[in-house]
């Protein structure tokens, strides 16, 4: 268990997942939009 207890750990996991999903979606949509414009 990381410092801060279960609630804090849960929040950190959700934050990590949200960031990673955003990065992945960004690459996917970004490449298609970039290609559409070029």
């Amino acid at each position: 268990m990381t410092a801060g207890g279960p609630d804090k750990q849960r929040k950190r996991v959700y934050l990590t997942v949200a960031l990673l999903v955003l990065i992945a979606l960004g690459f996917y949509v970004g490449f298609i939009v970039f290609m559409s414009m070029s």
């Binding site: 268990m1 996991v13 990673l20 979606l25 690459f27 996917y28 970004g30 490449f31 298609i32």
Partner: protein, 524 residues
């Protein structure tokens, strides 16, 4: 989140029979599922390889139609990359990462279940294309337009299958990162993590950055084919070469996705059997990160012959050659770890040493291919086939086999049959070279890739390669036998299993309990 709920709910209870495997959220069960799936697909992809090699045993057309031959080369690659090496490493990650960082399970166990169970559907769909009108995909695993757009009814199914594989990989990668960043035991700082955990963390970032790019590329293929767009259609103002750029922006980091976890495995095994700590731990971490960074700026070395500006060719040649530096650091460190160590040569160590030697041969031929003027000669020849098979078979595949032998006693609680294991290694090591070494000569002599027929002067080396391939294929049955036998019975394995093994995973009983660390261990 099992880690959070661990103190509140008893997790040792779980369904039995088929329900256990379908609904499991346990990292060990899911790891086993991934590994068994990879093993099954290894034989599916292997049969395809043997069909290719049987056809190439002699010049002329013997067994299959050229269209089917091309489907075999295409599907062999897709199956081996997305169905064998990637799932096998994800299986190893599932089994070992929570145990290595002192966590009870992965951070997102339900998503873990989902990311595995997508795969059997994706590959059923991919393989079903062989039975569709127009046959399976036959334009090569790189899916270059405009050729790939000539695929028959199979086309949308292939694209959908690739999307599913991508989603599965991204979910797996998110889980690995979330676990490593948030669930380490107290005292397990980043620079105390085992190299396998480090290499997987970096691999997971590569996956998150590149799989969406592949998904974007194949989505654009789909809209070009069915919705009237012209992303890659020159007649509509698009550019087919742009597909190659996007594909290889995914494809080159993908190469490192396939090999970085292998570096982690070898960095775990060699210190154990040399009975010495890993030489240059921090330089290994930085070398891995450097390779990952460089992997994003080398992609066009796959495309030297498309007609790039000279400055572009120079840039991609030099960045590619630069990768040899961190890779050299790694090979040096493995050798330095063995130097004056108290070495013993159990099967995992044999496969790890085989990896170091044979992967380095693949690395050297890669360095040759990195040189633009030389690549003009070698491009699309069997030299390229020899190169990437050296890094993927005695590279990635040997490391997966080494990892299974290394951790199998921990997983099952039994020692495997060392004699059969050693036979497996020596037969594999000999036949892998008989298969792939002659391909260097074939390529240098000008034999092109992806053809079912060839000129007479290439016959001898092709015959040799085919004999090697069948030998290698049948040798792998020994592996199945050893794993099967070890899972059922064998000498009881101790907790530490190997005399020189260090790390949290070796403090757990063999086999470990259903949930690894119900109370977090203290790392000094």
């Amino acid at each position: 989140m099992s880690a959070v709920l661990m103190d509140e709910v008893p997790h040792e209870e779980h369904p039995t029979g088929i329900k256990r495997w379908i609904f499991t959220t346990n990292h060990k069960d899911i790891g086993t599922l991934y590994l068994l799936f990879a093993l099954m697909m290894f034989f599916v992809g292997g049969v395809m390889a043997l069909i290719i090699r049987a056809e190439l045993f002699q010049p002329g057309l013997q067994f299959v139609e050229p269209q089917f031959f091309n489907s075999m080369t295409t599907l062999h690659a897709l199956v081996m990359i997305f169905g064998v090496v990637m799932p096998a490493f994800t299986g190893l990650a599932n089994w070992m990462i929570p145990m290595m960082v002192g966590a009870p399970d992965m951070a997102l166990p339900r998503m873990n279940n989902w990311s595995f169970w997508i795969l059997p559907f994706a590959f059923t769909m991919l393989l079903s294309t062989l039975f569709m009108p127009g046959g399976g995909p036959a334009g090569g695993w790189t899916l270059y337009p405009p050729l790939v757009l000539q695929t028959g009814d199979a086309f949308p199914f292939v694209i959908f299958a690739i999307h599913m594989m991508g989603i599965s990989s991204i979910m797996g990668a998110i889980n690995v990162i979330a676990t490593i960043l948030n669930m380490r035991a107290p005292g397990m700082t980043m620079m105390k993590m085992p190299l396998f955990v480090w290499t997987w963390l970096i691999t997971a970032y590569l996956l998150i950055a590149t799989m969406p790019v592949l998904a974007g590329a194949v989505t654009m293929l789909l809209t070009d084919k069915f919705f009237g767009t012209s992303f890659f259609n020159a007649a509509g103002g698009g550019d087919p070469v742009m597909f190659q750029h996007i594909f290889w922006f995914f494809g080159h980091p993908e190469v490192y996705i396939l090999i970085l976890p292998a570096f982690g495995v070898v960095s775990s095994i060699i210190p154990t059997f040399a009975r010495k700590p890993l030489f240059g731990y921090s330089s290994m971490v930085y070398a891995t990160a450097s390779i990952a960074f460089l992997s994003f700026i080398v992609w066009a070395h796959h495309m030297f012959t498309v007609g790039m500006p000279l400055a572009g060719e120079m840039f991609f040649m030099l960045t590619t050659m630069l990768i040899a530096v961190p890779t050299g650091v790694k090979v040096f460190n493995w050798v330095a770890t063995m130097w004056r160590g108290s070495l013993t040569f159990e099967t995992p160590m044999l496969f790890a040493i085989g990896f170091v030697v044979l992967f380095t041969i693949g690395g050297f031929s890669g360095l040759m291919l990195a040189m633009t003027p030389i690549d003009f000669q070698y491009h699309d020849t069997y030299f390229v086939v020899a190169h990437f098979h050296y890094v993927l078979v005695p590279g990635a595949v040997f490391s997966i086999i080494a990892a299974v032998y290394y951790w199998l006693p921990k997983w099952t609680g039994h020692m495997y049959n060392e004699t059969v294991g050693k036979w497996h290694f020596w037969l594999s090591a000999i036949f892998v070279n008989v298969t792939f070494f002659p391909m260097h000569f074939l390529g240098l002599a000008g034999m092109p890739r992806r053809i079912p027929d060839y000129a007479l002067q290439f016959t001898d080396f092709n015959m040799l390669a085919t004999i090697g391939a069948f030998g290698f294929g049948f040798s792998q049955l020994l592996f199945v036998y050893v794993v099967w036998q070890c899972a059922r019975s064998g000498k009881k394995a101790s907790d530490q299993v190997w005399e020189g093994a260090h790390g949290l995973e070796w403090t757990l009983p063999s086999p470990p309990p259903y949930h690894s660390f119900t109370t977090a261990p203290e790392v000094k």
